[in-house]
């Protein structure tokens, strides 16, 4: 089922990068369509508090996402979300995006901003105990663990900040990290280390989740010695970074060894007329502001490509 309209710009992904590209493209009177696999807002929606987005006082991620969505729609940007992309045909003058339900959309250029998703630990029991002991959001689920003992997996800013937040509820929080040092900013490390409810198990990784109906126990390995141990636990919160949603782009545009999209300073990918923006790009810093900047640049570059 082919949609007969050929859009000037098709944007894949509705996080801050995709929405920014949508705002700029539609305001430039380019016919623009955003195709989004999840909920509009991307990982920004998962952020309880956004305090450092310039020009906006502390707000919630979903509220900021909603404003961006409405802003894009006000300029005529069309948005279709909660869909599944089956395949891409990105070479040639007209590009095509085919959905699993058979719908096909065509455009003169495409901006890829598929974003990322929380990285799972990838060990036995993870999917089984999701929501019944395993969580990826402390602000959502922390109060279910009031007076209980939990593990936080990870050593970056998210892990340490969320561990501190969890001490509002949990009796004890144990941070399990694979290295002998943390990657977080020093202020986050200090806050965690000064909190009497937080303990640390370094150079260790979880190996399995176990329980009867709910999570009750984890096994872990001390990496330098290989020694295995088990620990009774009520909950595990996982904050070990993100993986780019670029699996279906492998072999279509150039990706690096981590699956991130390689772009130049104009957000141009390895294919003419195909741009990329946001957390799925090769980059060092992943913030709402950097995603918004990428989306802006990609949109302006796409407009220039269309003019040429």
């Amino acid at each position: 089922m082919t949609n007969e309209e050929i859009f000037d710009v098709i944007i894949v992904g509705g996080g801050p990068a995709g929405l920014s590209a949508g705002i700029y493209s539609s305001r430039a009177k380019l016919s623009t369509l955003i195709l989004n696999e999840g909920a509009i807002g991307g990982q920004m929606v998962l952020t309880e508090e956004v305090a450092n987005y310039p020009g906006v006082e502390t707000t919630k991620g979903y509220l900021l996402a909603n404003i961006m969505k409405n802003q894009a729609k006000s300029f005529g940007c069309k948005i279709k979300s909660n869909l599944k992309i089956k395949s891409y045909e990105l070479e040639g003058e007209i590009k095509h995006v085919v959905l699993e339900d058979g719908r096909e959309f065509s455009g003169r250029c495409v901006i890829l901003s598929p974003g990322g998703r929380p990285r799972p630990v990838g060990i036995p029991g993870e999917e089984e105990f999701k929501g019944i002991g395993i969580s990826y959001c402390a602000t959502c689920d922390g109060d279910f663990f009031t007076g209980k003992e939990v593990i936080v997996v990870g050593g970056g800013n998210s892990a340490l900040e969320e561990a501190v937040a969890l001490t509002q509820y949990a009796e004890k929080v144990t941070i399990v990290h694979q290295f002998d040092h943390f990657q977080a900013f020093q202020h986050a490390i200090d806050q965690a280390q000064e909190n009497p409810k937080i303990e640390f198990i370094m150079e260790s990784e979880l190996r399995s989740f176990k329980g009867d109906g709910v999570l009750q126990e984890v096994t872990m390995e001390h990496l330098p010695t290989g020694k295995m141990s088990s620990m009774k636990i009520d909950g595990v919160f996982i904050f070990i970074g993100y993986i780019p949603n670029t699996g279906d782009l492998d072999g279509i545009v150039k990706l690096n060894e981590r699956g991130e999209i390689v772009v130049d300073e104009s957000m141009q990918t390895s294919l003419p007329g195909i741009f990329a923006a946001g957390d799925s790009n090769v980059k060092k810093y992943r913030q709402v502001t950097t995603a918004v900047a990428d989306g802006t640049i990609a949109s302006l570059a796409a407009a220039e490509y269309l003019r040429s």
Partner: protein, 116 residues
């Protein structure tokens, strides 16, 4: 008073929910907050509402005392992740899930219990 900012029908009382699931054969109810794990589920329910006329979609504020009808349901025993999503068939719980679910996970449950 409605607590959730969605276009879905929102139950304010347990009695209203009980009456609704008796009057409607297939009902999906999401008990949650305006938080990051719940909003994506509300979003996909809003989209599904347009396509699945044989199913009624609704939400209920998790923190409302009246939402005890969801929180304390035996099907939710052990749940420790928002939202709590309930699927009612002919007034009885057919299925329940904890934490965020994607479109495929939700439609799989809908197809299994309410028909494609």
């Amino acid at each position: 008073m409605k607590m959730l900012s969605t276009s879905l029908h929102e139950f304010e009382t347990a009695a209203e929910l009980e009456k609704y699931i008796i009057e409607n054969e297939n009902v999906m109810v999401c008990g949650g907050r305006m938080g990051p794990m719940c909003i994506p589920v509300y979003d996909l329910m809003e989209e599904l509402e347009e396509d699945r006329s044989n199913i009624k979609f609704a939400v209920m504020a998790f923190d409302s005392p009246e939402a005890g009808i969801i929180r304390n349901d035996p099907a939710c025993r052990g749940f420790m992740g928002l939202p709590f999503t309930m699927y009612y068939k002919n007034g009885k719980v057919a299925h329940a899930t904890s934490s965020i679910q994607n479109m495929q996970q939700v439609t799989t449950v809908l197809d299994e219990h309410f028909g494609a």
